[in-house]
Amino acid sequence: MINQIHDDIEDEARGIIETGQAQGIVLRLLGGLAIRLRAPSATHRALARPYPDIDFVIPARRSHAVEALLTSRGYEPNKTFNLLNGDSRLLFYDQAHNRQIDVFVGAFEMCHRLPIAERLDKEPLTIPLAELLLTKFQIVRMNEKDVRDICALLLDHAFGEDDQETINLPRIAQICAEDWGLWKTVSLSLRKVQDFCDAYDLEAAAKLTIIDRLDVLHMALEQTPKSLKWKMRAAIGERVQWYELPEEVQRG
């Protein structure tokens, strides 16, 4: 097997997507690397951070094709993990660069389940900005990198009515209006980002932009009509845990 893995992680991610496309496999980036590709501010000295992993999402029932693609490039699959979880997740390692590829199959399921595989055709490299932002906002226990990623996205993209270069606000609001738990976590995350972005060494105007955009999102979350399911779950409220806490996976 020939190792075809690029040294540069961004080149490598693009290479995988292109190879996949040639083989009829749709792969789209998410996570920190996707945000770096979509938000130049992610390289701002105040928001820059390392990118040790590549995260992809693929349509359901394409695990086997992706496994073949990545192993042919020189990645080492986590066989046990992939066997037991391959209908929803796959893990691969690039030992030479000490990197990892994490593939979500059919949906994104971490603290909350997000239907991100529904709109893989919207963008050529990454999932749409709305879903990208949601994958970060759905995290219950945010870390420093998550806050920086959100700040970078919000700094470079305004909310709008559709995708491409704006963050599709109706899409986010609608997903959250269907799921009280997600709505609750996103609402809490909004406050957290608001609290922390002030600490970063950003220009005052940039901070203001982020705060304004957080307000726009907050308003949309509050004002969008909620589904019956949302209302029924809201009645129970925080008495029942509304999120999952993903567990650490030992590296193979």
Binding site: L30, G31, G32, D53, D55, R61, S63, H64, A65, N78, K79, T80, F81, L83, L84, N85, G86, D87, S88, R89, L91, Q100, D102, F108, E109, M110, C111, T135, K136, I139, V140, R141, M142, N143, E144, K145, D146, V147, D149, R191, K192, Q194, D195, F196, D198, A199, E244, L245, P246, E247, E248, V249, Q250, R251, G252
Partner: protein, 569 residues
């Protein structure tokens, strides 16, 4: 990756003026939401000791004991709590797919681990295939066809070996399909069956609570004759036939020894709250000892309580005496001890008997259909746990890599399932047509697994001393009884129980079980059972030695080195 949890809390207040209320976390590795919740694991454990299938089936075969059924249920339930502690501890230390195989091979050594796990979690499950199928036909096909007015079809399923074998095939097809759906869907299926099955049981219990014995006698007479063509006077005739067969088992009473003698039978039903042990690599929070323990222990306690309540209600309305006699009449004929066909000419399924209290066939049908969910929610247990043991052995290169491969389209572990299904159907043929006296092997299905559990229990007893670092770093290190590790104390209690069971099964001093080489002159010396078990252990040992030698000679791999490492998740 950056999207999950697995976090340690890191206060960040010092870095942000407005962050007094907020904190950030530090994530170290990939996060994963595992397929099963603790509740899913509880349901799996609950179904693994399924009252309506395993419980009613084996208790119906226990008509000739002097000890009381209810004290036996209670005492064995308390003892088996030690098993829950042993397995909850082992899972918390090493929550890995493969369970017993991984623990035994890493603690006791590869040869012992492979032979015991492969026989107990793989080979012997072949014998369980016809047993599962027997329960399916008795609680699903026979009563539902009878209610639907298809008397001949009902009786065909009840007695004809070909029909029985067809049910074996249907059982493995259903099990294969439900496993192929994946763990998440499997959890949804068993959850549905759990609620519907319990709703059915509640209705049955209400009928028993508010019914009367006179009403039951009238209902039996009307329904048994209509549904199965039983001769009039079936109630009295059944009691007489049962007494002739020697039905004596009481609901209460008996000496402590006589109560214990029920347990080698009863454990066919209640020894399995740990049946999900091989799956805990896929359960959330599996390193939490308390959650693991209560997931299994609650399944055991709830099932034991349900069994006691159910049989008390049976005694109130149907009468235990009638049920025990009906069981004796049925099994003594089926086992060939009597040539007289039972007056109630089908298996005396207590839920069906309870539904004879109504004359409404639609209600009977709906309730017994709901009760059949106890089978459909439980059926996957025959192969699901075993597939993980096969995977783990394949990852250790003790089985061909193909054994851990899945079909790319359906994601079905086709080879692992084929290794269960094909021999399972062959053993089904032997069992169904009673070739080589295979129908006498029912309790061997429990014996072989108990030997495997004994291996894991010994591993648990010595774990704190032989794998000190692993134990000390584990969440169970803090649990001690009088300074001795809890897992060791629980292990000693459970090992003593298993040794008692093995002594009774194998040497059968009271001539009760018929699967060993009885030291009682009136007991059975079951050559088939002994040969069958020896062949299984011999086959497992042969595979181990053969593969070890092959890996060494052809690939230069020392298999024993693999066992020095704990497999990754």
């Amino acid at each position: 990756m950056g999207l999950g949890e697995s976090a340690q809390r890191v206060p960040k207040q010092a870095t942000a003026t407005n962050a007094a209320e907020s904190t950030l976390f530090l994530r170290k590795a990939t996060g994963l939401v595992r397929s099963w919740s603790v509740f899913d694991a509880f349901i799996y454990a609950f179904f693994s000791i399924s009252l309506v299938t395993l419980g009613l089936y084996i208790i119906s075969q226990m008509w000739f004991f002097e000890g009381g059924l209810i004290p036996a249920l209670l005492i064995s339930g308390v003892i088996i709590l030690a098993e829950c502690a042993v397995y909850a501890g082992l899972i918390a230390v090493m929550p890995r797919a493969g369970g017993d195989y991984v623990w035994q091979s890493r603690i006791l050594g590869g040869g012992v681990g492979f032979v015991l796990a492969i026989t107990g979690w793989w080979f012997i499950l072949w014998l369980w295939t016809p047993l599962y199928a027997d329960m399916l036909r008795q609680i699903f096909f026979v009563p539902l066809l009878g209610i639907a007015g298809a008397k001949d079809a009902a009786l065909w399923f009840a007695w004809d070996p070909t029909a029985y074998f067809i049910v074996c095939v249907l059982t493995v097809l259903f099990v294969t399909a439900v496993i192929a759906l994946g763990m998440k869907t499997y959890a949804r299926v068993q959850k549905f069956c759990f609620w519907v099955g319990n709703a059915g049981l509640l209705v049955v219990c209400l009928f028993l609570l508010f019914g009367s014995n006179a009403g039951f006698q009238a209902g039996l007479e009307a329904n048994a004759t209509r549904m199965f063509g039983a001769a009039p006077g079936v109630y009295d005739a059944t009691i007489k036939a049962g007494q002739t067969a020697g039905a004596i088992t009481p609901l209460f009473g008996g000496s402590l020894i006589s109560i214990f003698l029920l347990m080698p039978y009863l454990t066919f039903f209640n020894l399995w709250p740990n049946w999900g042990a091989t799956l805990y690599g896929e359960v959330k929070g599996a390193d939490d000892f308390k959650k693991n323990f209560w997931g299994m222990a609650l399944a055991l306690l709830v099932t034991t309580a349900l069994a006691i309540v159910f049989f008390l209600l049976v005694d109130k309305t149907i009468s235990w005496d009638f049920l025990n006699n009906a069981n004796a009449a049925y099994w003594s004929y089926r086992w060939g001890f009597s040539t007289d066909a039972p007056p109630l000419n089908v298996w005396p399924y207590p839920a069906m008997l309870a539904m004879f209290l109504t004359s409404n066939p639609i209600l009977q049908f709906v309730v017994l259909l709901a009760m059949s969910m106890w089978f459909f929610g439980w059926a996957g247990t025959v192969f699901l746990s075993s597939t993980r043991v096969i995977f783990a052995a394949a990852f250790d290169r003790l089985l061909p890599e193909a054994a851990a491969q899945i079909n790319p389209r359906t994601r079905t572990p086709i080879w692992a399932l084929a290794l269960m299904v094909v021999p399972g159907l062959i053993v089904s043929i032997l069992y169904v047509w009673n070739i080589f006296n295979f129908a006498s092997l029912t309790l061997a299905s429990t014996l072989v697994i108990a030997v495997t559990f004994l291996g894991s229990t010994i591993a648990a007893i010595i774990l704190p001393y032989t794998k000190k670092d692993l134990y000390e770093a584990s969440p169970i290190a803090k649990y001690k009884v009088a300074g001795i590790p809890l897992i060791t104390v629980a292990g000693v209690i459970f090992a003593a129980f298993l040794l008692f069971l093995l002594y009774e099964w194998l040497l059968d001093p009271n001539a009760l079980y018929g699967i060993g080489w009885s030291i009682n002159e009136n007991g059975v010396k079951n050559t088939t059972s002994i040969i069958f078990m020896l062949v299984m252990y011999g086959l497992a040992l042969g595979i181990y030695l053969g593969v070890r030698s092959y890996r060494k000679r052809r690939e230069g791999i020392d298999v024993s080195m693999i066992y020095k490492e704990i497999p990754v998740e």
